[in-house]
């Protein structure tokens, strides 16, 4: 999957905005939104939040976890544990990027947040590579990968699954007879 498509999925996550306009309830195909009243917080999908923000029609409220102290804890925990710790959002990376790109004026300490999230990401990707290597080395048949996010899986996933496919075929070489029909034309 393309990272832009993972981002597309992330854009469906609900965030809170404070609109500066009034609008009745909207009945979208994917669910109802609103009503919108100036100054009253309302939940909308991120794609709409960004659009409204770009048109200066709202202020964005950062998700609760997008906070230096909380993210420091998350980063430290991630560095301490060998396994993948649960993330505050399955789209933590995408939300951080999108919110900091489009609503940086609504998010305090944006630069620190960016660095903390990136550090956490890097730690997790390093772990992912470590587990990929041991999976290959042990020639394992199954791995449980709770708490990995779609974006994380996507950056290394294609490489890993393709390597495992090759390995599988090389292993079938050891069992002649089973798949030993060479192709004749």
């Amino acid at each position: 999957m393309d990272p832009a498509e993972v981002e597309f999925l992330a854009e469906q996550e609900l965030v809170t905005v404070i609109p500066n306009f009034s609008l009745d309830r909207i009945y979208l195909i994917g669910g109802d939104l609103g009503p919108f009243n100036p100054g009253l917080p309302v939940q909308v999908p991120l794609w709409l939040a960004i659009n409204l923000k770009q048109r200066q029609k709202c202020r964005l409220i950062a998700p609760e976890w997008m906070d230096v102290e909380k993210l420091e804890q998350i980063r430290d925990q991630e560095r301490k544990e060998d396994t993948f710790t649960p993330m505050p959002s399955p789209y933590y990376m995408e939300l951080t990027k999108l919110l900091l790109n489009y609503a940086v004026d609504n998010i305090p300490k944006a630069d620190e947040i960016r660095t903390l999230v990136k550090d956490t990401w890097d730690t997790r990707i390093a772990k992912l590579r470590l587990s990929a290597d041991s999976f290959v080395r042990q020639q394992e048949a199954h791995a449980r990968l709770d708490n990995l996010t779609l974006m994380e899986i996507n950056t290394t996933g294609a490489f890993l699954t393709q390597a495992l496919d090759h390995m599988y075929k090389l292993r079938t070489n050891l069992q002649p007879g089973e798949s030993a029909q060479s192709q004749d034309f």
Partner: protein, 212 residues
Amino acid sequence: MGEAYVPVEAGLGFEESFLSLGDILMSQERLPCRAEIALPRLAAVLGKAGPEPLAAVPEGTKLEIPLWLAKGLYDNKRRILSVELPKIYRESWRTVFSADANVIDLHKLGPFYYGFGSQLLNFDSPENVEIAQTILQTFIGRFRRIMDSSQNTYNEDTSVLVARLDELERVLFQVGQKGLNDFQSWERGQAQITATDLVQKYRKIKFIDLDS
């Protein structure tokens, strides 16, 4: 996203992929053989042409023929042809591989180390099991380095990194690079969902049609 041309992947193991350019190139690699019987009228075809174009290849002649031809002539019931193992699949080299597969320049020795090695198993060598084992372990042993180099190098000249990789490893390296590059350009905000090349071209064609 919208690649108009998706190349056919190489097969691996006993099966070649008929429509894969990689496999066609691989099966063109030469294999040392010995004619176990006289091969009538094949001298010219097998590159042993003397003054007589339709001469036979005498029994015992050493030949270097492409893999696809060797496969076609080989028959485990009638001994027409015996196949010699190329040196990198022989025991002495297998020992080198098992010591440290990472130091070996597989491109220079290959460049189709895995694919060609798997195809060799079609010739019923008594060393088949050891060859298959070595190929598999070589892949496992080199995996980490390929993963790390393909996932750590952004916007750099990668020719040095892939220089020593076998063709299969190069394809894998590119997959890893694509994962990294796609992510990095997304992170920098350069990746957006756009219409594919095909759609864009199609729109242009339509436009021209309307004009004329």
